[in-house]
């Protein structure tokens, strides 16, 4: 038993109960449907901004890129422009590969698989599932914009078409059976987040380094995905009512429609919690990845001088002091001196 993930799980269960009971029993729809979401959004925006500004306020006294390939050097030596960038363009490519494709994480998984079993595959999976996790999350987020925009922009509809598959519908006069289109992104998100969780549980060295703060967002996102999937495919939430509420939020005319069940409020509360928690947590790597000085600077140190804004003079041992101490000995062996 690991106290860290048990704690996080309990917290998420409590959050669930708070919202569900709060809405179903105490009728706190306004609190969970309007106040909390607004509050969370404000915390997120202010907090995120504050954190990024905090980083930006700290200076970058030295240019310290981690070089992962051949430097720019002599014409017959081929530079690795991506892993050892020397111009802004190279840096942009390096950063793009880092941010969009998790290049460094991929480096972790070498392709040769001979004589190897489980752990190699796990290494590749870390990269693969991380990528799947982040991209499916992005698609889910973008898809949800349909709840906040009217009319729904064409591009979002297109994403839904690509994302959706197996539109199972059987329509006849007697019987109409159908599932709404199944979105790949939601399922992938749930699968990926589950993988990331199981990895933390089952790989002892990862379990050893994991904190409660590592499990909590995973459980929370799991909760979000599960409640979302429940509403869409099983309990069939009143979509029209939901959109009335969300559009109200987006247009600053909040309303609480009838007939939207507790599960929706749980979903909304989880999302709000995630947003509010975001700026206080490691989730800030979303912003930090862009600012990491070992990745976002060109390795042109000897060609272009980097300025340290707080560079201050330091005591040094001058040549004169040195010669004063050793002059006789220097003269003795015929070394040239300044003062005979």
């Amino acid at each position: 038993m690991n106290v860290n993930y048990i704690f996080s799980l309990i917290v998420v269960v409590v959050l669930f109960l708070l919202a569900y009971v709060g809405v179903e029993a105490a009728g706190l729809q306004v609190f969970f449907g309007v106040i909390i979401p607004y509050l969370a959004l404000v915390i997120f925006i202010v907090g995120f901004f504050y954190r990024v500004m905090g980083w930006a306020r700290s200076t970058v006294p030295f240019r310290i890129p981690t070089t992962c390939g051949q430097q720019e050097s002599l014409p017959w030596i081929k530079q690795n422009k991506i892993d050892n960038p020397s111009t802004l363009l190279h840096v942009l490519v390096r950063m793009a590969l880092e941010v969009l494709l998790f290049r460094s994480l991929f480096r972790n998984s070498r392709m040769e698989l001979k004589n190897s079993r489980l752990s190699y595959k796990l290494e590749i999976w870390l990269w693969l599932f991380s990528l799947a996790f982040h991209y499916s999350f992005l698609v889910v987020l973008v898809r949800h914009l349909r709840f906040f925009l009217e009319p729904v922009p064409f591009i979002i509809k297109q994403i839904e078409v690509v994302d959706g598959f197996f539109r199972i519908e059987f329509v006849s006069e007697v019987l109409t059976v159908g599932l709404p289109g199944i979105y790949i992104s939601g399922l992938v998100l749930l699968a990926a987040v589950t993988f990331l969780f199981l990895r933390r549980i089952f790989i002892p060295q990862v379990r050893y380094i994991s904190l409660a703060a590592d499990y909590f967002p995973l459980f929370l996102i799991m909760g979000i995905a599960i409640t979302g999937i429940m509403m869409r495919y099983f309990t069939k939430v009143d979509v029209v009512g939901v959109k009335e509420l969300t559009l109200g939020l987006a247009t600053f005319h909040p309303t609480i429609p009838e007939g939207v069940g507790g599960l929706f409020y749980v979903h909304l509360f989880f999302v709000s919690t995630l947003f509010a928690y975001f700026p206080f947590s490691k989730l800030m790597h979303l912003g930090g990845v862009f600012l990491s000085p070992t990745r976002n600077l060109a390795n042109n140190n000897r060609a272009v001088r980097h300025i340290n804004p707080w560079n201050y003079p330091v005591p040094v041992h001058t040549y004169e002091e040195y010669e004063d101490e050793f002059r006789e000995k220097m003269v003795g062996v015929g070394l040239p001196v300044e003062k005979e």
């Binding site: 240019r63 380094i209 590592d214 600012l291 990491s292 041992h317």
Partner: protein, 544 residues
């Protein structure tokens, strides 16, 4: 063994199982012999004017800390968060994905889970969260926060001096979190309360005073050079006249003092001298050595940014005094991290120097036009490419060579193919080690960042094992008997490491190989290499 009953007899009475399922925060540090270096000599700390010089010992309960040490640490922490964006970002963004965990040679070799890079950083992060973040203040341990205590401090000291700042983990981190940066900050904080190790503090004090880590005075430096002149004369029949402290020379040459004073670096040093003599004879280029700036290495870098700057200042000061055009840097690891990523920022701009151009080939070293320091591998690679060196590479035929990428030139600079270009042109037999142990994935010697002492030999042997294991592989597969490297700490540390793991392999700098092959104008037929060992086919002549 969980499913097995304990073996009977004596062994079963003994606990040979580590404690299981205990969180790392609940596992107190145990300082073990062989894994740490002696505390700094107060005389050295005092000479440098660094805080709180005193006699203390890591094994004592009482570290004789200043009364307000927690305040000093906390204030120092805050200051560094403001000054270094790297530090602040690295404190905040780690998601503990574990990609770095098994990339550290100390983790791989010692098996101590606290040597996982992520945990080394968590040692600082846990205190950071407690003192500087909202989540940590509110949620405490569940947000991974813990209070600064004496035990935590001891843990810091123990593990920040079990990191060689090699940056291998940083290559694999999706956010580029660099444990070298973490360790640098950790050591700076420890220095604020006088907790350094002697293998760093005393070389720094020596270097400040005499110009080099070993504390060699100028006349002894000259004596050593004279000795090399004699040796080279015995081998080649040519008597060199190296320039030392010479005003008006073309280029100032700076290399780690280890090359001048410690085997097998001394042979590399002889190699430099022969190359410079060749260039003087053939092309009239004057390259001078300096006794004031007789140290390329910079153990100040392992102390604090400020100390690094204080030692590094000598390079430009001496170049200015001697009136040279630019500076040529010898084969060294962290020296080059400092020159490449810090020197110009710290002590530049070097407007009194010229943009470096090779006077022999006319090649402009565009990549060094601001700092004005050229790496000797770049310099020699250029000479070879333009066919300016007369070489008899058969004189290296008795060597089967592999190349160790030193951490700092590899991951703090990207100097990978220049030394290879040189080696391939002076040796017939060259073999690479496996791909996941070279270039940007190179494994550290295990003795860098000031850990090259005697008392921590077990740490060094364990930490160097991943490297030695790859050497053993090429030794067994190709018969490799010589490992070339471009770092003076490598040259000092590897002979020990090899003699424990792969005694059949010896260590060389690349300019020893160059000088073995280099034909000096007017030289006699050589019967030995620079180590006075007979050349292939010359065994009889060498005996005479």
């Amino acid at each position: 063994m969980k499913d097995l009953p304990k073996p009977d007899g004596l062994v079963s009475m003994m606990d040979h199982m580590p404690p299981k399922d205990k969180g790392w925060m609940d596992t107190p540090v145990k300082i073990r012999k062989g894994m740490y270096c002696y505390a700094s000599n107060p005389k050295s700390v005092k000479y440098l004017g660094l805080p709180y010089p005193r006699e203390w010992s890591p094994m004592d309960d009482d570290w004789k800390l200043p009364e307000n040490w927690k305040e000093i640490i906390s204030e120092g922490f805050r200051e560094r968060l403001e000054r270094f964006r790297s530090f602040k970002i690295f404190m905040d963004v780690c998601v503990r994905c574990g990609a770095c965990a098994d990339k550290c040679h100390f983790f791989i070799g010692t098996g101590d889970p606290k040597n996982m890079p992520v945990l080394r950083a968590e040692l600082l992060r846990s205190v950071y969260r407690n003192d500087f973040t909202t989540a940590g203040k509110v949620l405490g341990k569940f947000a991974g926060a813990r209070e600064m205590t004496l035990d935590v401090l001891k843990e810091w000291w123990y593990y920040f001096f079990q990191c060689t700042e090699c940056r291998r983990c940083s290559v694999f981190c999706p956010y580029g979190i660099d444990t070298a940066e973490i360790t640098i900050m950790g050591r700076e904080l420890l220095n604020l309360i006088g907790l350094n190790i002697d293998w760093i503090a005393t070389p720094v004090a020596n270097c400040y005073r005499t110009g080099n880590h070993l504390g060699i005075q100028p006349h002894a430096f000259k004596d050593m050079m004279d000795f090399f002149v004699d040796e080279i004369e015995d081998i080649t029949g040519i008597r060199l006249a190296p320039s030392i402290n010479k005003k008006g020379a073309d280029i100032l040459f700076i290399t780690p003092s280890g090359d001048v004073f410690a085997d097998p670096g001394t042979y590399t040093c002889m190699g430099y001298m022969m190359l410079f003599h060749y260039l003087k004879e053939k092309f009239g280029i004057d390259i001078t050595w300096s006794t004031y700036a007789s140290e390329g290495g910079n153990f100040g870098f392992f102390t604090s940014h400020e100390t690094m700057k204080r030692l590094n200042a000598k390079m430009y000061a001496e170049a200015k005094r001697l009136g040279v055009k630019w500076i040529l840097g010898g084969e060294c690891g962290h020296m080059w991290r400092v020159i490449h990523q810090y020197m110009d920022t710290l002590n530049g701009p070097a407007n009194f120097l010229e943009e470096p151009v090779s006077p022999i080939t006319g090649t402009k070293f565009e990549n060094a036009k601001s700092t004005k320091v050229v790496h000797i591998a770049e310099f020699t690679s250029d000479l070879i490419q333009h066919d300016k060196l007369d070489l008899d590479i058969s004189r290296n035929d008795h060597l089967k060579v592999t190349f160790h990428d030193s951490c700092n030139p590899a991951r703090g600079m990207g100097l990978l193919d220049e030394p290879r270009h040189v080696i391939r042109n002076v040796c017939e037999h060259f073999y690479e080690m496996p791909p996941n142990t070279i270039r940007e994935q190179t494994f550290c010697c295990g003795s860098g960042a000031g850990l090259n002492a005697g008392e921590d030999m077990e740490l060094r042997m364990a930490g160097g094992f991943p490297r030695a294991n790859a050497v053993k592989y090429v030794h067994e597969k190709y018969g490799v008997n010589m490992m070339a490297c471009i770092c003076a700490i490598d040259r000092a540390a590897f002979p020990d490491l090899m003699s424990y793991w792969v005694p059949e392999v010896d260590i060389t700098g690349i300019h020893e190989l160059v000088a073995n092959a280099l034909i000096l104008p007017g030289e006699k037929e050589r019967s030995t290499d620079l180590r006075s060992e007979p050349l292939p086919g010359m065994e009889d002549e060498a005996d005479e």
